[in-house]
């Protein structure tokens, strides 16, 4: 069986800067993959290329067997890839319910059906009760939740979470981790998480991919990654590596 | 062929003046991202200023440039502090609305003060030089427009240096890039906006004072210039000062070459057709950075 997502030699340049260089990775159905790397390593850029926000300069990206390298973001979403954004992109002047309904409309044309689905997802993500609030007025944690709910409403098979837990309090982070676990367990999605907080990403991920300066420098199970010399030098710093 | 070359030369001369018309908007709209529907009305005020100066004080209309610039700098600041600063709190569309109000107000105040008659500036240096042409390789260059263009170019370059090379210009640019960051380093954005409006109004009014030597002044004269100025700033890449100059030259040339082949009614249409063409090929504007 082929992987759900295959990124094959993806390279993306911004002028002279190479943000992704020959990155290859695969995500299997139902897998949680952690994507880590120092600031500016190219994680968001890779998400952008996968989700169609940007187009890779070289390499190919396939999803569920279809070549999506040059497709627009909306087409890729219809195929089953949904994402959240590092800098939240909630629809600020729409209510929480309407935000999620926008996602649900990707799979139905009926307003009543979209509403039912949206409410179900608001329950699932713990946003029930916030329906009439304008998204702009939510806390950061709730905005990030809202983005997850909205992404789930498009009924994806692969969910890309770009720092869905950064900037949150420890309590909020715990809730967010719990949410990701439940998405995985109850909805059975494949999930790719970009995250800086190692204590979060390591226990959550089945597999970890490490980017540095746009290149993949390591890939493997979390406990191997934390021992990997290259990774420690590039990213984890002495504290985490030496502690084990 | 010489006809076309001649048209190109005329267009370049006119383009220099357009650059001065548009550069005020490049600051207000391009850099500060505020919309001013009444840009051409500020130009109209400049024209009337020059006209009033020459008919009442019997001085050369070109001498009206410093006082017009000073007064209109104040007017621009006033427009910002009294009107636009409040409007800024709302939707962007409110700026359109407010400046349409300003447009009605200025245009019709001019009607009330001067009536809708055409006013011609007479007896100035440029009008005395009219008819004198420089001949160069079979092309003739009208001296008055050449002087006007040179004057516009000098003012334009002065502004360019002000924005690109001085501390004030840097503060202006910083405000346009990121208002919060600018505040953190001690720039007061509201002050920058006010000065930008002052500069913008002064520049376009000076352009009006120059244009008064060539065109009749009347209250409705401004709007076509407003439309052209928006096209120029967008073509030039939205806030790029040099881009504005090049786009203005292009617009001048397109206009005058169009008139060689088609009825004058089409000259602005071709400017905008070029805008669409270039816009679709280069969505970030002719000279814009990303």
């Amino acid at each position: 069986m082929t992987a759900l997502l295959e990124v094959d030699g993806c390279t993306k340049r911004f002028g002279g800067l190479v943000a992704n260089h020959d990155v290859t990775l695969a995500i299997e159905p139902g897998e949680i993959v952690g994507l880590i790397g120092p600031n500016g390593a190219g994680k968001t850029t890779l998400f952008n290329c996968i989700s169609g926000r940007l187009h890779a300069d070289e390499g190919r990206i396939r999803f569920a067997g279809a070549d999506i390298t040059r497709l627009g973001a909306d087409r890729i979403c219809h195929l089953g890839v949904a994402r959240t954004w590092q800098i939240v992109r909630a629809f600020g002047r729409m209510t929480v319910l309407d935000n999620v309904m926008c996602g649900a409309f990707g799979r139905t044309n009926r307003t009543s059906e979209a509403r039912v689905r949206a409410r179900r997802l608001l329950d699932f993500t713990g946003l029930a009760g916030h329906e009439p609030v304008l998204a702009a007025n939510l806390t950061l944690a709730d905005k990030k939740r809202l983005e997850i709910a909205r992404a789930l409403a498009t009924q994806p098979r692969l969910l890309l979470l770009d720092e869905a837990m950064s900037g949150l309090t420890p309590l909020e982070t715990a809730a967010a981790v719990d949410l990701v676990r439940r998405i995985h367990a109850e909805l059975g999605l494949a999930i790719c998480v970009v995250e800086h907080v190692m204590e979060v990403v390591m226990p959550l991920s089945h597999r970890v991919v490490v980017l540095d300066h746009g290149e993949k420098i390591a890939e493997g199970e979390p406990r191997d990654i934390v021992r990997n010399e290259l990774v420690i030098r590039a990213y984890l710093g002495d504290r985490y590596g030496a502690g084990r | 062929m010489t006809l076309v070359l001649q048209a190109v030369v005329n267009g370049l001369e006119m383009g220099l003046v357009y650059a001065l018309v548009a550069v005020g908007l490049a600051i207000i709209w391009g850099l500060m991202e505020m919309i001013n529907f009444a840009h051409g009305e500020l130009l109209m005020l400049g024209m009337f200023g020059a006209w009033w100066f020459s008919t009442t004080l019997h001085l050369d209309p070109l001498l009206a440039i410093p006082p017009v610039a000073l007064v209109m700098f104040g007017v621009g600041r006033l427009i910002y502090t009294l009107l636009m600063r409040r409007v800024q709190r709302g939707e962007t569309f409110a700026q359109i609305f407010a400046t349409i109000g300003l447009f009605f107000f200025l245009q019709n105040s001019a009607v009330a003060a001067f009536t809708s008659d055409y006013r011609f500036v007479e007896g100035g240096l440029l009008s005395r030089l009219s008819g004198i042409n420089l001949h160069l390789a079979g092309l003739s260059v009208g001296l008055p427009l050449l002087i006007a263009g040179a004057l516009a170019l000098v003012l334009f370059l002065a502004l360019y240096l002000l924005v690109e090379r001085t501390e004030f210009g840097l503060a202006l640019q910083a405000t346009s890039e990121d208002r919060e960051a600018a505040m953190l380093v001690g720039i007061r954005p509201q002050r920058m906006f006010a000065v930008a409006w002052g500069l913008g109004a002064a520049l376009v009014a000076v352009a009006g004072a120059i244009l008064a030597n060539f065109f009749a002044a009347y209250p409705q004269v401004g709007f076509p210039f407003t439309v052209l100025a928006y096209a120029i700033v967008a073509l030039g890449g939205f806030g790029s000062i040099l881009g504005t100059l090049l786009a203005a030259l292009l617009v001048g040339v397109v206009q005058s070459v169009t008139v060689v082949y088609l009825p004058p009614a089409f000259k602005d249409a071709f400017v905008f057709a070029s805008y669409l063409l270039i816009g679709l090929l280069r969505p970030q504007g002719l000279f814009g950075k990303f």
Partner: protein
């Protein structure tokens, strides 16, 4: 809008012109016609401007398309205005879609100038195209109606009843527009438009084809403008390019929308009801007399607009009407 206010507004809209007409003030009936016409254009512009959040300065082009298509069909084929309405709206939608598709790759201000560009190009075409008689204008055939039914079918109303009849014609069209747009507002389209307005990248990320939906939004706007243009042509009995392409057909609805409150279905209606009578009233009072032709009325009008903009940059619907209403009702009790 609460049902009570809506019912009251509908009742006023239906009944108001009758006493005016009976009292012989048919000028005010014409003002009412203009109010509804601009309210209709306002709710139409609100789709692309308020819901989809795109700066559109050139919807007047489609007002002209509607007027010209219906007028041409009436002149050459003696077609009924109502069929002309269908044709005009259809033509406007097609033309709008074709013209707008390429420019949707431009964003923000660049898109705005592109809509201006289309208008600027349309003007000399309108002034020189022989098919539509260039700047000499297109005159609708004058033929008295044979009876009341024919009057309604061919929109030819004799002398004094004309103002009133056209008022009700535009009112019906306006009501139909409101009902249809309300359906759009609550459908997938309305959701998608507002998603694009709030965050285009975010919208694309959840599967919204932003270019397609911008084209749809602008085409809806174009349809409303074209419908109004058809009625205007038969009301004015002639179509001149500089008249139907006048920028005011874009700016007045835009201003009505901003005054009332952009983005809400009723904002433009509130705005038109306030702005148009003020401008007409001022024209009739300050614009007459010794200072006629000196633009005093428009000076005052400009000041009023600036005041509204400075004091309520988010429109009059942003005022706490609901709380005031509640307080009012509470006091009466």
């Amino acid at each position: 809008m609460p049902a009570l206010a809506l019912a009251a507004a509908a009742l006023i809209a239906l009944a108001l012109p009758i006493p005016l007409q009976v009292a012989g003030y048919s000028y005010f009936v014409t003002v009412a016609f203009l109010v509804i016409l601009n309210a209709m254009l306002g709710v139409g512009w609100n789709v692309i401007g308020g819901w989809a959040g795109q700066f559109d300065f050139g919807p007047n082009v489609f007002f002209a398309v509607g007027a010209y298509v219906a007028a041409l069909l009436a002149v050459h084929l003696a077609l009924s205005p109502w069929l002309g309405l269908v044709a005009g709206v259809g033509a406007a939608v097609v033309i709008c879609a074709v013209l707008t598709w390429p420019i949707t790759q431009l964003r923000g201000h660049y898109f705005a100038i592109a809509t201006v560009a289309i208008w600027m190009i349309a003007q000399p075409i309108g002034a020189t195209w022989e098919l539509i008689n260039g700047s000499r204008g297109l005159f609708l055939p004058l033929r008295p109606a044979t009876g009341p039914l024919d009057a309604v079918v061919s929109l030819r109303f004799p002398g004094r009843s004309k103002a009133l009849a056209f008022y009700y014609v535009i009112l019906v069209l306006f009501a139909v527009t409101l009902v249809l747009l309300r359906m759009v507002d609550r459908s997938k389209l309305g959701f998608y438009f507002r998603a694009i307005r709030d965050d285009q990248e975010g919208a694309e990320g959840i599967g919204i084809d932003s270019r397609l939906y911008k084209v749809i939004a602008r085409s809806i706007t174009a349809a409303v403008f074209a419908a109004a243009g058809v009625v205007y042509a038969f009301w004015a009995l002639a179509v001149f390019p500089e008249q139907v392409l006048d920028l005011n057909w874009s700016t007045f609805p835009m201003m009505a929308t901003v005054v009332g409150g952009i983005g809400s279905l009723w904002g433009p209606v509130v705005g038109a009801v306030l702005l148009i009578p003020i401008s007409q009233l001022m024209g009739a009072t300050l614009g007459a007399g010794p200072l006629a032709g000196r633009g005093i009325d428009l000076v005052v009008y400009g000041v009023i607009i600036m005041l509204v903009a400075a004091l309520r940059p988010n429109g009059l619907l942003s005022l706490p009407w609901r709380a005031w209403g509640r307080r009012l009702v509470g006091r009466r009790r």
